[in-house]
């Protein structure tokens, strides 16, 4: 058998974004010896790209805000599918997690009184997002990273990719990984494992996500036998760049709209007023005058319709384009130039300013941007328990975008960074506790051997170029499981995916094992196919439109389906999708969520 190095630890944390780092810190504080691995260099995970802010009901800008309203906004935004326990823990704990970052050295933008400033965002009743201009993720990841590297019992393994979870008697006992730079193999023997691997966006062509988002954690957990939940819900962010072609999909933060930006069609109409859903009507401005008084900060003014939840805004832009009122490159105009001073824009949205200036030769302080929907965030993921972040497999935990339950059918902007911090910490503590309470088991040699063979398989002969397969996968997902779906298209897509899956063993990795992206892609593609199939099959079962999942053949809510989550799990006959009833919310909270206005 191939040589491999062995590393022993109590807790193996897979992923060094916000969730993985926060989990590693918590586990280490709990006394565990932690191995923290990530596919890229430390500090480069997706979290670094987050722009707009982290949601927490600090009440610094509007003191009427509190956890209960944040909870209500989250559940309403999720179209009632969120796990209420997670949403409650999240809303209650987020303020502490943000304040803690400040004690660890983070420097958020300030209010006039010198407190952490908060900005408006879609679906949030009050200004709630703590932020640093439009580079909030950078501030958070750097703070966590600098804190973590100074802890004695966290060892960091950069550019190291986990390719398989190792189990023994249905319990997680470690993982196999390879170092990207050398191609050498390493077995982590661990008391427990936390998956904090982020999302799946690379299954789509137009996306705000990086090469890392290949659904590794989703697929690793699935292959280990764990349940996935809400896989049909992929968030398409309404505002990605649409021009020039090479940057199509790159994110334009919702902060632009939070700071007053408006959406306009080719006829100059502020079209979002035509798309206000009934559930949000009582909380949304009905006219430009009303929306303008909100921008001026007038007490009691209702929020502009540009700040409706992302699913609503994304569909509105699509409709405008389809009905012939799109911008020249097939999007909508996003205008902040006429709403705020150049100085304000450069101070609050500096990276947007540079992004457009350098990549699109456009000055956002003078001209409107052109924007359209882009694949952004995966609501679905590994099913976890609210209080422990435990998956359905003993010893396997999950947090961050790879885990699911918090966001249901639609995530509110800013609720991911807070999710990472709150559940990262819980996962770290509970995984450390599990490792301490259960005596360690070593992985079987036979299982390691099998994992190694799979990992090195692409070096065997084949005639399929992985880059070509990836492109075909993206085309399938975009045309059959995109923003709008039908049963027929989904079925076609699933058949195509099944065919593509059969071609995977024929992929080849040319060259040596040392830093070989072709090889890495071959392995990533196995994960992307699993997540794409899970997503499409769950989407086929949900015969209604809800949140981010829009079915043209079932355009309305179905009350019965509104009471269940879809679970995807490996069964004896292959992948199966089953319906699972929602957790029942206590009446008092439920009544509060249902109230028309609070």
């Amino acid at each position: 058998m191939e040589d491999f190095e062995t590393i022993e630890c109590d807790v193996l944390v897979v992923g060094a974004g916000g969730a993985g780092l926060r989990a590693a810190i918590a586990a280490s504080e709990y006394g565990a010896k932690v191995a923290l691995v990530s596919k890229s260099l430390l500090g480069k995970a997706h979290t670094v790209m987050a722009e707009g802010g982290v949601a927490a009901a600090l009440g610094n800008v509007d003191e009427r805000d509190n956890w209960k309203i944040h909870f209500r906004d989250t559940i309403r935004g999720s179209k009632n599918l969120a796990n209420w326990e997670m949403a409650k823990i999240h809303a209650e704990k987020a303020p502490d997690r943000v304040r803690e970052l400040e004690r660890w050295g983070a420097v958020f933008d300030r209010t006039e009184e010198g407190k952490i400033s908060q900005r408006n965002f879609g679906g949030h009743r009050y200004p709630r997002l703590a932020h640093v201009g439009d580079r909030t993720g950078l501030e958070i990841i750097r703070t966590l990273q600098d804190y973590a590297v100074h802890m004695e019992n966290i060892e960091v393994f950069m550019e190291c990719t986990v390719s398989d979870i190792l189990k023994s008697d249905n319990r997680t006992v470690g993982a196999l990984a390879y170092y990207r730079s050398s191609g050498k193999l390493v077995v982590f023997e661990a008391g427990s494992v936390i998956l904090a691997t982020g999302g799946i966006g690379k299954a789509y062509r137009i996306t705000s996500n990086s090469w890392e988002y290949t659904g590794d954690g989703h697929a690793l957990a699935y292959l280990a036998g764990a349940d996935l939940i809400d896989m049909e819900f992929v968030q398409f962010h309404p505002t990605g760049m649409v021009w020039p072609p090479s940057v199509k999909g790159t994110l334009v933060t919702e902060g632009v709209r939070g700071d007053g930006g408006i959406l306009v069609n080719s006829e100059g109409e502020r079209f979002m007023f035509n798309y206000i859903p009934d559930v949000f009507a009582a909380e949304t401005a009905k006219s430009e005058e009303e929306a303008n008084s909100w921008l001026k900060g007038e007490e009691g003014a209702m929020r502009p319709p540009e700040l409706l939840t992302r699913d609503v805004v994304a569909r509105a832009i699509m409709t405008e384009v389809k009905e012939g009122r799109g911008s020249p490159h097939g999007g909508a105009f996003l205008d902040i130039a006429s709403r705020q001073s150049p100085d304000y824009i450069r101070r609050k949205l500096p990276s947007m300013y540079h992004q457009f200036k350098e990549l699109a030769t456009l000055d956002i302080t003078k001209e409107p941007m052109e924007v359209g929907p882009t694949t952004h965030y995966m609501m679905g993921g590994i099913k976890v328990e609210a209080n422990t972040a435990a998956s359905t497999i003993p010893g396997l935990y999950a947090a961050g975008e790879a885990a699911a339950g918090m966001h249901g059918a639609n995530r509110l902007g800013g609720n991911s960074l807070s999710d990472l911090l709150v559940f990262g910490k819980i996962a770290g503590q509970c995984a450390a506790n599990y490792a301490q309470e259960n005596s360690k088991v070593s992985p079987h040699g036979k299982e390691i051997k099998k994992s190694i063979e799979n990992t090195l398989e692409p070096f065997e002969d084949g005639d399929e170029n992985p880059y070509q397969i990836h492109q075909e996968l993206q085309e399938i997902m975009e045309s059959h499981a995109g923003i709008v779906r039908t049963g027929e298209e989904l079925e076609k897509g699933i058949r195509k995916l099944e065919k593509l899956e059969k071609r995977l063993p024929e992929m080849y990795a040319k060259g040596e094992r040392k830093y070989n992206p072709g090889w890495h892609l071959c392995l990533d593609l196995h994960n992307m196919i699993i997540t794409s199939l899970a997503l499409s099959r769950a989407a086929l079962e949900r015969t209604e439109s809800r949140g981010a999942h829009t079915r043209l053949d079932y355009p309305d809510y179905d009350d019965e389906l509104g009471k269940v989550n879809m679970i995807v799990r490996p069964g004896p006959g292959g992948m199966s999708v089953v319906k699972s009833p929602l957790l029942k919310m206590p009446t008092e909270l439920n009544d509060y969520v249902l109230k028309e206005v609070v």
Partner: protein
């Protein structure tokens, strides 16, 4: 439209420049060109990247000898008929193709005393004007391009004596934080070699985040070091009070 691009390939003892011809699309950046080559001609071509939007600092390289984020450098900035050359950062040991071993930077970072919070009651109060400068330094995306161009590291390879501009601003960001209690000046002088910087400002010109590395961080930190250690009155005072020599 087609254009030629030359990429440095291979490992330390076996280097070569491979030339490719690519079809250019509107708005294409250097990283797009590299990805296109990877997908069609050289599947094992090594390059780091993540965000493709200038936010993560992964994709640094030398384009026609200049330090650049390849994801923010448009092909149209260079004349079409000229072959573009992309090489890895020279200051760090090469791993393969365009990827270098930047782990030294992570070691240096660990040597810096982390943030030490002033514990008080209630939420910390800091005013925007007080934190503007600190926020400027915290914009750093760790692309290490400033480290790449600094002659102390690049030409003289003094990595054991000098931490480099990236860590000058890191230290400055901590030292200027209104609520930090850490002491870093002695370390900055003795181990991180701030005296070795002779203010050529090459780092500042290279920084894609437009951080005023030299004027806003290095010069003020040099002054603080001088004040702390060479002010005779202060020196005498420190002797008397027994504060760090």
């Amino acid at each position: 439209m087609k254009r030629k691009i030359r990429l440095q390939r291979g490992e330390p003892n076996n280097l070569r420049l491979d030339e490719f011809e690519i079809k250019v699309e509107t708005g294409m950046v250097v990283l797009d060109a590299i990805h296109l080559i990877q997908a069609t001609e050289a599947p094992d071509l090594a390059i780091r990247w993540n965000c493709k939007a200038g936010k993560c600092g992964s994709c640094s390289a030398e384009v026609n000898g200049e330090p650049k984020l390849t994801c923010m450098t448009r092909l149209s900035d260079y004349p079409e008929d000229q072959t573009l050359t992309v090489q890895p950062m020279k200051t760090f040991p090469l791993i393969k193709d365009l990827v270098t071993d930047v782990s030294w930077n992570y070691e240096v970072n660990r040597q810096i005393t982390p943030y030490q919070h002033t514990e008080g009651t209630g939420d910390p109060i800091m005013f925007q004007a007080e934190v503007d400068r600190v926020q400027e330094f915290r914009k750093c995306i760790e692309c290490f391009l400033c480290q790449d161009v600094c002659h102390v590291l690049r030409s003289h390879d003094m990595k054991d004596e000098f931490a480099g501009p990236r860590f000058m601003i890191r230290t400055a960001g901590l030292e200027m934080h209104p609520l930090d209690q850490g002491e870093r000046l002695e370390h900055l002088r003795d181990d991180h070699g701030i005296g070795l910087c002779n203010i050529t400002k090459c780092c500042t010109y290279a920084c894609p985040e437009h951080i005023g590395i030299t004027d806003n961080a290095i010069i003020p930190m040099k002054e603080r070091v001088v004040d702390e250690y060479y002010d005779p009155l202060k020196w005498l005072w420190n002797m008397v009070t027994g504060k760090s020599n």
